[in-house]
């Protein structure tokens, strides 16, 4: 009963309304309170975290293609932003460096195009082969960026114009996060989203039932990459400095995966919830055990996989599937298994 009530509370429509209210409150927050720059920065980072996890969820959670190299699109977006803002005038005579607003959509489109080029061969692979191929793409891209010194600054990186405007950053990320969450909510309830989940569950069956699986996977991959590229571009401008080692870090992908798994793979609101919890947890752990926080996160990942593999929202939806869910429901082993409940 208790779980049933929780399920109702977390139903997609209720949660959607809840998120809209939360977004409005967040929009008003800096106006009605005197927020410090560091607080605005922290909230902006949470928005980034939530949006990245939701982007990853589109391909990793909904479609079932666990992408271990998704941060490559963040890197492409960041470096395209950096190059367009600082390097264009060196190569095109009379062309000034582009502004943030001019460069940002190009950063997203570049990541999207890169996803198309990479996705066409890699999305033919299944399971761990795809994951490893994407990890390889990520590592290779970091080295390519390092080698292309004339454009990317190589290991020294690029300095972007220092424009410090925390409030603008806050509102930009709030709006982008809002748009991405609404888009994912919409996709989830659309036939496109349902077909992605069908691919996740059984790709051969989906193909045989008329779904052009290659097209669907590529579109999902490109949409996720576009949004991640936008965030990469934004992050580069906000950070004012990029080099391959700060942009192409494996931990970024690991965080996206962890947040999605913690909240609930393939659900709309699970990854944002997971990202929020993970960010707070990381912050707390970082401040107390700075040298060991990655160990703590590693242990957390193991706990998630063992006890709540379907994530927090997945556990509420299907309590019998996890140890935690059975505990919440007071599920007893002697009760009939769901498979035997239905009769012929």
């Amino acid at each position: 009963m208790r779980t049933r009530r929780l399920e109702t509370i977390f139903s997609s429509r209720n949660t959607f309304i809840g998120w809209i209210i939360l977004l409005i409150l967040l929009a008003l927050y800096p106006q009605v309170t005197e927020l410090s720059g560091i607080r605005l920065l922290q909230l902006t980072q949470i928005f980034i975290f939530i949006t990245l996890a939701s982007n990853w969820n589109l391909i990793g959670g909904m479609t079932g293609y666990v992408d271990f190299g998704h941060a490559v699109f963040f890197g492409v977006g960041a470096f395209v932003m950096g190059i367009l803002v600082t390097q264009v005038q060196n190569y095109i005579v009379f062309a000034p460096g582009l502004s943030f607003w001019q460069a940002l959509p190009i950063a997203g489109l570049a990541a999207m195009l890169f996803a198309l080029l990479i996705g066409l061969p890699t999305l033919r692979l299944k399971g761990p082969y795809f994951s490893i191929a994407m990890l390889g793409t990520f590592v290779a891209m970091r080295e390519i960026v390092r080698v292309l010194k004339d454009f990317t600054g190589g290991g020294r990186g690029l300095d972007l114009p220092p424009v410090l405007n925390r409030e603008r950053d806050y509102y930009f990320m709030l709006v982008w996060m809002g748009l991405v969450l609404i888009a994912i909510w919409w996709i989830h309830r659309s036939e496109f989203g349902q077909s992605l989940m069908a691919i996740r569950e059984d790709e051969v069956g989906a193909e045989m039932r008329g779904i052009n699986t290659t097209k669907h996977k590529i579109i999902a991959f490109m949409l996720a990459a576009f949004s991640t590229g936008i965030i990469g571009g934004f992050w580069a401008f906000q950070n004012t400095y990029i080099d391959p080692d700060v942009v192409f870090i494996e931990q970024r992908t690991v965080e996206m995966v962890m947040a999605s798994m913690l909240g609930g793979l393939g659900t709309v609101w699970g990854p944002p919830l997971g990202a929020l919890i993970l960010y707070v947890l990381q912050d707390v752990v970082w401040s107390r055990v700075p040298e060991g926080h990655l160990v703590v996160l590693g242990v957390l990942l193991i706990i998630i996989v063992l006890f709540v593999p379907e994530g927090i929202l997945g556990t509420f939806k299907n309590p019998s599937s996890t140890s935690l869910g059975r505990l919440l429901r007071g599920y007893r082993e002697e009760q009939p298994r769901p498979e035997t409940v239905a009769t012929e």
Binding site: G205, P338, T340
Partner: protein
């Protein structure tokens, strides 16, 4: 009888797995409105032939025609768009999705653009799904996850999913495997109804000879990947080569 154009036709269909000929120079034809059986001992190549026909497996030699068009190199989803649907020997339903979602996602796809796909399922699709679920006695389970159904109910759901796009031909791979006798009668009854009332064509892989005899007008027999015999169920039952293939030589 006026000879019609076959709805589904295989010419010299051959499929190798390494050096093993799983299907070897098989010719066959299924005409509109027929219920045709495909039988043979285990490992005779029936399911491989189904996989070739539905384009899940590429063939090494021969040609496949559907509605007069060469589909030898088509992709599975393209064949599905043309009106060929199938079920699988090992049931393939989306276990984590509800019964209704399974049906909705199996609706008629026609290669729509992304904007059209971004809409939720239409009312007409919902209505068709509900009607088919009622027809297959699954209406009361539509909101259950498909993984919670019994084996027989999953078989029925898979048949429903195959019917959703209103196909011209349905390939059923061991539709009665592991099913209790009552449910087998239900499946038989539904196939007969769909054939007589809606003119659906069926190609059935089956080990249940009574099922085949009751439903099929013609039967093909495969053995070691080759076509062993072809005829009415009675002819097949009395064919010495078929008896030998199933029970061995005296």
């Amino acid at each position: 009888m006026v000879q019609q154009q076959p709805l589904l036709e295989g010419r010299n269909v051959t499929k190798y797995f390494g050096g093993l000929a799983a299907v070897h120079h098989v010719d066959f034809a299924v005409y509109p409105g027929e219920i045709v059986g495909l039988v043979g001992p285990n490992g005779s190549g029936k399911t491989t032939l189904f996989n070739c026909l539905s384009r899940i497996l590429p063939i090494n030699e021969g040609e496949i025609y559907f509605k007069g068009k060469n589909i030898t190199h088509a992709k599975p989803y393209q064949v599905a768009h043309m009106g060929l649907a199938r079920t699988f020997q090992v049931i393939r339903v989306y276990r984590k999705m509800t019964v209704l979602q399974n049906m909705l996602i199996s609706r008629q796809w026609r290669g729509e653009g992304i904007l059209k796909m971004l809409r939720p399922s239409s009312k007409a699709t919902h209505e068709r799904a509900r009607q088919l679920l009622d027809f297959l006695l699954l209406g009361h389970l539509m909101h259950e996850p498909a993984g919670h159904l019994s084996g027989g109910q999953r078989r029925l759901l898979e048949i429903g999913m195959a019917l959703m796009p209103d196909p011209d031909i349905i390939l059923l791979d061991e539709a009665t495997s592991g099913i209790n006798p009552t449910l087998i009668e239900t499946i038989k009854d539904r196939i007969r109804q769909l054939n007589r009332q809606e003119g659906k064509t069926f190609l059935l892989i089956e080990h249940n000879i009574d099922f085949i005899s009751d439903l099929c007008s013609r039967v093909y027999v495969l053995d070691f990947g080759e076509k062993l015999a072809e005829g009415t169920p009675e002819e097949i039952k009395n064919n010495p080569a078929v008896i030998e293939a199933y029970f061995g030589a005296e």
